[in-house]
């Protein structure tokens, strides 16, 4: 039974929210006509809504408590379900194949719009994986990641505009430019720790955007660069629809390539060094790891992916202007990494797909979309702060048969 005490608490909570939202929800003034609109019904809804939600939350917590009370023995660090499945070859290969087939067949079963959205989501998968190197693996908080993305996009736009260079030629160049910029930024700021690094990278992102906005002769300023060609397929011209599908396949290939590289990196000597750096800088240095070099490589490698995706972005949108590279974009990419589960490749993929597809499919809610987006971020973090798939490091422990059999 639900205790009466809890009902009373929920009533108090609902009163609090009624008070809290009073000026903003209830009063609407029209300062020109000098009229006041008292929307008392809103207060009622808020009170009712918060009452119900608080009861639901309490029920959830009670149940969780009861469950965890019973299963205390097994509650050691468990590798997430997905990771565990994926270590079993008998699940891995068929599933791998199935998803691959699905990804390849996707454009034939879904509309152009769906393909287009999926392309965007997959681009964010790569961005997330790139940022994951910096934030998730090496533990350097970067709030200006979007700058590298912008560098890639503008590399293609400008090199194409001035020198007529094609997509495939610019693709690696854009990545290299971004990586170079990553090193350039890295040098002065790597002395900084934690949140100081965060604000400097944020500032750096803003500086890049402002330069693009103000330096007209270089970047055409805020009006941007239009008519950027889509990637060509051996010189063939494609219509719009096959163009979208083509870009989709390019991005799918890029995702696979990125996963391959990132995965190899994580298990490499360098990857171990990054992890060590994240856990304890000083101990890491004492082990003889070159701190500066390791950090710089993380920065430039992370930037490299952003640059590549930037080039694809320019080709896909066929238009770039500085408005696409605001701080909010960095925040979203960071959210992907954290929400998905820092350091976990599968997690980041899930994070990107959820965060990018969610607003698209929330379009039905239209104006409540961003409200829901913000709310979901908070709720997700509160209930699963490690992200959807937390990256628990593989560990070995002695398992007693009797405790697992439950």
């Amino acid at each position: 039974m639900f205790p009466v005490k809890e009902l009373k608490r929920s009533a108090l909570i609902s009163l609090w929210f009624a008070f809290l939202t009073f000026p903003i929800m209830v009063i609407k003034v029209n300062p020109i006509e000098r009229t006041v609109d008292w929307r008392w019904d809103n207060m009622f809804f808020i009170a009712l809504g918060s009452f119900v939600i608080s009861i639901l939350a309490k029920v959830y917590l009670l149940r969780k408590e009861r469950l965890s009370g019973r299963k205390k023995v097994i509650k050691v660090v468990n590798e997430p379900f997905v990771h565990r499945i994926l270590r079993e070859p008998r699940f891995l290969y068929p599933l791998c194949l199935a998803v691959l087939v699905f990804a390849v067949a996707f454009p034939y079963f879904f509309s152009t719009y769906q393909t287009n959205i999926m392309t965007t989501a997959l681009m964010y998968v790569v961005l997330g994986l790139g940022l994951n190197i910096v934030v998730g693996v090496a533990g350097l908080l970067d709030l200006g990641y979007v700058a590298f993305y912008a560098v890639g996009a503008y590399s293609y736009a400008l090199l194409n505009l001035h020198f007529g260079m094609g997509f495939w030629a610019v693709l690696p160049i854009g990545g290299l430019f971004a990586a170079f910029l990553g090193i350039l930024l890295g040098f002065p700021v790597l002395r900084l720790r934690g949140d100081y690094l965060a604000i400097v990278t944020l500032g750096f992102g803003e500086i890049i955007r402002l330069i693009l906005e103000n330096w007209n002769d270089f970047s055409s300023g805020p009006s941007g660069i239009a008519n950027i060609p889509r990637p060509s397929f051996f010189g063939m011209d494609m219509n719009f629809e096959s163009g979208i599908i083509y870009i989709y396949y390019i991005v799918v290939a890029l995702v696979i390539f990125t996963i391959f590289v990132v995965n190899r990196l994580q298990d490499s000597r360098l990857g171990r060094a990054w992890l060590a750096l994240r856990e304890d800088e000083i101990a890491c240095q004492a082990m003889g790891i070159d701190k500066t070099k390791t950090k710089l490589i993380a920065f430039s490698l992370g930037a490299f992916w952003a640059g590549i995706v930037g080039v694809i972005f320019a080709a896909k949108t066929t238009f770039v202007n500085p408005a696409s590279f605001t701080f909010l974009e960095s925040a979203i990419i960071l959210s992907i990494v954290v929400l998905g589960g820092m350091g976990s490749i599968v997690g980041v993929i899930f994070g990107a797909l959820i965060l990018i597809l969610m607003p698209e499919y929330l379009r039905a809610l239209s104006e409540y979309r961003m409200l829901a987006f913000g709310g979901i971020l908070v709720v997700m973090m509160v209930f699963k702060p490690d992200g959807i798939i937390s990256n628990v490091r593989r560990s070995y422990r002695f398992k007693k048969q009797s405790t697992i059999s439950e």
């Binding site: 020109i32 994926l86 879904f110 769906q114 219509n239 408005a323 599968v346 239209s366």
Partner: protein, 376 residues
């Protein structure tokens, strides 16, 4: 133990698979689908939402009298947040949903990004507010029309007025760094220089949303400019104007269509008095405009917002063209747009070969007793 590559690949593939299992939508019908695209959330929402309302009103009006040639008009409303990358998704969605014509987009950048997609699909697009010159004059976008005059016409009106009527000799040209404001300001700067009658005392951008504009106002004062031309939207304009009043500066402030909005007067209050702004010719006596505004007040219980009249006109022009053409085929609709004159809140208009509305020009307004009135 090794975490093999193939396993990781598999992981990725699984993740992909889960997310892709989302059904596609798209139903064909006999309705005529009018897409509405623009910023409906985010910081520029106030420029996009009035367009949605205008479209709703026009469609309601058409459907009330039985639709177009017996077909009901259906609205497909999509948000692009005025961001180019979102606009391409929006456009693709509208095209996939089988849209016939599109009212939008609101911002020039988003419009430029979306247009190739519509062009490919043979969809006519009409914007109530995208004023970038190259949208029509470059000839790149044959499917694009607009019910607002392009920036160069507007800049010309502003500069002619500032030099000719106000007799300014030193002009400070200020903009908001945005694609609309800066583009306009650059054209104005060029025109002032070319005129030979006045000089540009200052050409600078202010940061939209910055907490304080004291420094730029002091700078304008120091240059000894005798007029300010501002390219941008009303929030920045009203901040600059009130700061000028606070700093006891009394030189004419000439601005654009983004400022010729009643919200500017509401927000700037007394400080708005005497501000000049260019805008489409006076429609206050136009019966269509009066009816549109009345309908808006009745339906939403408030005054219409920015670009409402342009959006209302665009919706009317699009639906009228479809009605006259008797089909939604784009070539026929284009022809109807160019030949059939339609009575709209912005006047009796048709469109030229490049897509600009004929009969939509700019006149200068001044704020007098809390209202925009045409400068005599």
């Amino acid at each position: 133990m090794h975490f093999g590559l193939k396993k990781k690949l598999f992981v990725a593939t699984v993740a992909l698979g889960f997310a892709m299992a989302i059904p596609a939508a798209g139903i064909a019908g006999d309705t005529i689908k009018l897409g509405v695209a623009g910023a409906q959330s985010g910081d520029l929402a106030s420029y996009g939402l009035p367009t949605v309302k205008a479209a709703e009103l026009v469609v309601e009006q058409y459907n009330a009298k039985g639709g177009i040639n017996g077909n009901k008009v259906e609205l497909l409303i999509e948000d692009d947040v005025c961001k180019p990358e979102v606009a391409t998704n929006t456009a693709t969605k509208l095209v996939t949903d089988g849209v016939d014509v599109v009212l939008g987009h609101i911002c020039s950048g988003a419009t430029k990004a979306a247009l190739p997609i519509y062009k490919e699909a043979g969809v006519i697009v009409m914007s109530p507010s995208a004023t970038a010159v190259d949208l029509t004059k470059s000839g790149d976008y044959s499917n694009f029309f607009r019910t607002i005059a392009p920036d160069d016409a507007q800049a010309e009106a502003m500069v002619d007025f500032t030099i000719g009527t106000l007799g300014a000799k030193k002009i400070a040209v200020i903009h908001d760094k945005g694609d609309y404001g800066k583009g306009l300001a650059e054209i104005a700067e060029g025109l002032v220089k070319a005129s030979g009658k006045a000089e540009v005392a200052l050409f600078e951008g202010v940061t939209p949303g910055a907490v304080d504009y004291t420094a730029i106002v002091q700078k304008i004062k120091r240059t000894g400019a005798d007029a300010v031309i501002f390219g941008g939207y009303h929030p920045e304009a009203s901040k600059i104007v009130s700061m000028m009043k606070k700093k006891r500066m009394d030189i004419p402030f000439v601005s654009d269509d983004g400022v010729k909005d009643d919200t500017f007067i509401k927000v700037a209050g007394d400080n708005a008095e005497g501000v000049y702004a260019s805008g489409p010719q006076d429609n206050s006596a136009n019966p269509v405009a009066i009816a549109a505004i009345e309908a808006h007040k009745k339906a939403y219980n408030e005054d219409p917002g920015a670009f409402f009249e342009n959006a209302y006109s665009a919706a009317l022009a699009l639906l009228n063209a479809i009605e006259k053409a008797g089909t939604t085929d784009s070539a026929a609709v284009v022809k109807a747009l160019q030949t059939e004159t339609v009575a709209t809140p912005v006047g009796n208009i048709h469109f030229d070969a490049k897509g600009d509305a004929v009969g939509v020009g700019f006149v200068m307004y001044v704020v007098k007793d809390g209202k925009y009135v045409v400068v005599e």
